[in-house]
């Protein structure tokens, strides 16, 4: 192991994570910026939603691996298991709530214009 920490494998890992996160952020931002400055007509809504969310998830994974060292622990991998459980619960909670609340809105009469339910 060399003297300087700035030449270590760990430093390269952090830097890689930083650069990848930077790229992911800039791509997502640029696409949305281009779309907005073109009067919201450049891309379809579906494309924007999928791209932005995918990049977010990608950046999440990058940071989990390069900043939080997930996957590097020895067995038993409690950290990883706890994280997967939390992700599962978050997905159920968020998607479940969206599904339920949208469904309720559908059954209600639209009395207040600002509460019009629009497709997500």
């Amino acid at each position: 192991m060399e003297n300087s920490m700035y030449r270590s494998k760990a430093f390269k890992a952090y830097s890689t994570g930083f650069v990848l996160s930077l790229i992911s952020t800039l791509i997502a931002w640029s696409v949305v910026n281009a779309h907005v400055t073109n009067g919201h007509h450049r891309y379809s809504h579906l494309f924007i939603n999928v791209l932005v969310l995918s990049l977010a998830i990608l950046q999440l994974v990058v940071q989990l691996i390069f900043f939080l060292h997930l996957g590097r622990e020895k067995k038993p991998r409690w950290n990883l298991q706890a994280l997967l459980a939390a992700v599962g619960i978050i997905i159920i909670l968020v998607i479940g709530s969206i599904w339920i609340m949208n469904n309720l809105n559908y059954s209600m009469m639209n009395m207040v214009p600002s509460q019009e339910d629009r497709p997500f």
């Binding site: 038993p76 409690w78 459980a85 939390a86 619960i89 159920i92 909670l93 479940g96 709530s97 599904w99 339920i100 609340m101 469904n103 309720l104 559908y106 059954s107 209600m108 600002s114 509460q115």
Partner: protein, 657 residues
């Protein structure tokens, strides 16, 4: 600001009831304080109990508070049952409508958050570290803090009687818009919010504590699949705590923001959506009821195996069932609001998942019965509670599956059928389990057995009383009686059934009286019933390998485990006691950290309720200061020397020989 009586006109009997409650609360504190001072026990109490970070002491404190809150909750129950038995036709019972709303709200809130949760955390604190062969939980200081947060919540909910004289009148879950400022302008809802918010934070920290404890502090050789089933049930319940309580925290904060700074989360105007509250509160609420029941299931597993003198049937399937129940409990929550207007696809999904969750539950019941089959059964009082559970829980569970079918639920939602179902689950299922656990583990904690005759009598009275109190409610629900009624038409012909229910409550009360007598008698006769061996029931798991009560460090030498029911295995081998070499043991110091933090939390809450900013800021500064003091304290442990350990252990062995 500090009004002893509520601002609105309080009818005569309401005033009497309120006054009685205030006297109880105001009287109890100072009375106990004076007694402590007179008997010069304040220092002793502070040093040996209140600042203790020992899981065994903390467990006992939880049970004491839970017991007191049970008596408070039962007082409310008497009022409710009496009102419903008498308030028919021309008679309007003894309390006003508004007061009745507050009573059933307080009843539910106290029973769930301060009785059931208190019993759960009391028992798991006492037993889990011993069962896994550990010295204490992973974070003893945090454990103490959790207890004091729970106690602070209990204090706050009782303070509502004295300062303000009103509580939430919204039902125990305080749905908006009723719980919003517009329709509940007083302090009642705020007391409700903060007492469970503070207690909830304590619970969340405990959940984290026990998950870490079970994952990292097991004795060497105790793999996950060699843990006692009780420990598995606790791990599952604590995982649910960690997953669900953040949702409760958020939902309560959002309601608080609506009530204090004018946000529009759940309001009727400004783009609020009250149904989102119902959605979130039940996303927490359903896992919560599984948090209450899973440890009880674990206790039954221990008890049935021990008292059938037989290994638990189907260990692996029990573990899978617990895990399945915990996982499934996260995808059923909509069944609490089938009637809120979701479409058929949403209702069907959650209906089906609700029915699915009954399957692993049923599997567990069969496994217990198979354990009993061909066993040599000792019908001690814990087993009586278990039998009472099997009878009541099976019926109540079947009622639950019925309610899980949306078309049926459309008829039965919010009727007394529902009320009977969930009381069967919580009383017949959870409470009976915790009573059984207390009877079972009492000798381990205190060193002497409880009076068995009175224990059995109490169980019989509770079981008979429960059946008598709730069977009428199932029938009334099917007849169309709604819940939370403070008065009904005489022509409905319901009064007879309500009276029967009231009689059932009186039988339960007799059971409680017998329990109190049992504690009194057992303590008086304790020298006659000393548990000398530490193993009064011929137990199977590691907690029975210590003395009763266990020494501060639990195990002088951490055992090495090679199988399930390790203690039983070792007993069968009839090994002689080897000459053990003792080493010094490092133990954590007592600390007032928890009391201070909970005190600041109580000050913060009280200040927000009464809109007094100076003490809000003081409380926040207090929290930071307490943290800093603790952070810079580097001597947080003390050493028990090897000689001291040897002396303690020799004393115990000497008593055995």
């Amino acid at each position: 600001m500090l009004s002893i009586f509520s601002a609105a006109e309080v009818p005569g009997t309401d005033r009497m009831v309120l006054l009685f409650g205030q006297l109880m609360v105001v009287g109890a504190g100072p009375l106990i304080g004076l007694a402590l001072i007179y008997f010069k026990k304040v220092g002793w109490l502070w040093k040996n109990w209140l600042t203790s970070v020992d899981h065994k002491k903390i467990g006992i404190m939880y049970l004491v508070v839970a017991g007191v809150m049970l008596l408070r909750g039962l007082a409310d129950t008497v009022l409710l049952r009496f009102q419903q038995a008498t308030s028919s036709g021309a008679s309007h019972g003894i309390v006003s409508s508004d007061h009745f709303q507050q009573i059933f709200t307080a009843h539910g809130t106290m029973m769930i958050f301060f009785v059931a949760m208190g019993l759960v955390f009391g028992i798991i604190n006492l037993i889990v570290p011993l069962q896994i062969g550990s010295r204490d939980v992973a974070f003893p200081l945090l454990n103490n803090l959790s207890f004091w947060m729970y106690a602070a919540g209990a204090i706050l909910i009782n303070l509502s009687l004295v300062f303000g004289g009103e509580f939430a009148a919204t039902g125990w879950l305080a749905y908006p818009p009723l719980s919003e400022l517009q329709f509940s302008p007083g302090v009642g809802v705020d007391y409700w919010i903060w007492s469970i918010q503070i207690a909830g934070i304590g619970t969340l920290l405990s959940g984290i504590n026990f998950i870490t404890t079970i994952l990292t502090k097991r004795a060497p050789g105790m793999t996950m699949m060699k843990m006692p089933v009780f420990v598995w049930s606790v791990l599952a319940a604590m995982s649910l705590v960690a997953a669900a309580f953040p949702i409760l925290t958020v939902t309560l904060v959002l309601l608080t923001l609506d009530r204090t700074i004018g946000t529009h989360f759940f309001t009727t105007t400004g783009g609020g959506n009250a149904m989102m509250y119902v959605n979130l509160i039940w996303a927490w609420g359903h896992p919560e009821v599984y948090i209450l029941i899973l440890p009880a299931f674990g206790i039954y597993s221990e008890i049935v195996a021990t008292f059938s003198r037989k290994r638990l049937f189907g260990y692996v399937s029990m573990v899978y069932a617990i895990t399945a129940i915990a996982g499934l409990s996260f995808v059923v929550w909509l069944h609490h609001f089938f009637t809120m207007g979701a479409g058929a696809n949403v209702n069907s999904f959650f209906g089906i998942m609700t029915m699915v969750i009954a399957i692993p539950t049923g599997l567990k019941v069969f496994n217990w019965l198979f354990t009993m089959y061909r066993g040599r059964i000792n019908f001690a009082s814990p087993m009586i509670w278990f039998i009472g559970f099997v009878i009541t829980f099976s019926i109540g569970g079947a009622a639950g599956v019925m309610l899980g079918v949306p078309p049926i639920d459309f008829q039965l939602h919010n009727t007394l059928f529902l009320v009977a179902h969930f009381h069967t689950m919580i009383v017949g299922g959870a409470l009976f389990g915790y009573f059984a656990g207390i009877a079972y583990w009492f000798p381990k904690v205190f060193g002497f057995k409880l009076d068995e005759k009175l224990g059995k009598l109490a169980a019989y009275l509770w079981i008979a009383g429960f059946i008598c109190a709730f069977t009428p409610l199932y029938i009334l629900g099917l007849m169309g009686a709604t819940r939370r009624l403070d008065h009904y038409d005489a022509s409905l012909g319901w009064q007879g059934l309500f009276i029967v229910a009231g009689v059932g409550l009186l039988v339960i009360f007799a059971g409680v009286g017998v329990q109190l007598l049992m504690f009194y008698k057992s303590i008086r006769n304790r020298k006659k019933n000393i548990d000398k061996t530490g193993d009064p029931w011929n137990g199977r798991t590691l907690e029975w390998a210590t003395s009763s009560p266990a020494p501060a460090y639990n195990f002088a030498v951490i055992p090495t485990v090679s199988d399930r029911d390790e203690f039983y295995r070792v007993k069968q081998l009839k090994l002689s006691l080897p000459k053990r070499k003792f080493t010094a043991i490092e133990m954590p110091n007592n600390s007032p950290f928890g009391i201070f933090m909970a005190g600041w939390a109580l000050m913060f809450a009280f200040s927000v309720i009464w809109h007094f900013p100076p003490t809000i800021i003081l409380a926040l500064l207090g929290v930071v200061a307490t943290f800093l003091v603790r952070s810079f304290n580097d001597t947080t442990t003390y050493l028990i020397s090897a000689a001291e350990v040897e002396a303690i252990e020799n004393k115990r062995v000497g008593a055995l020989l």
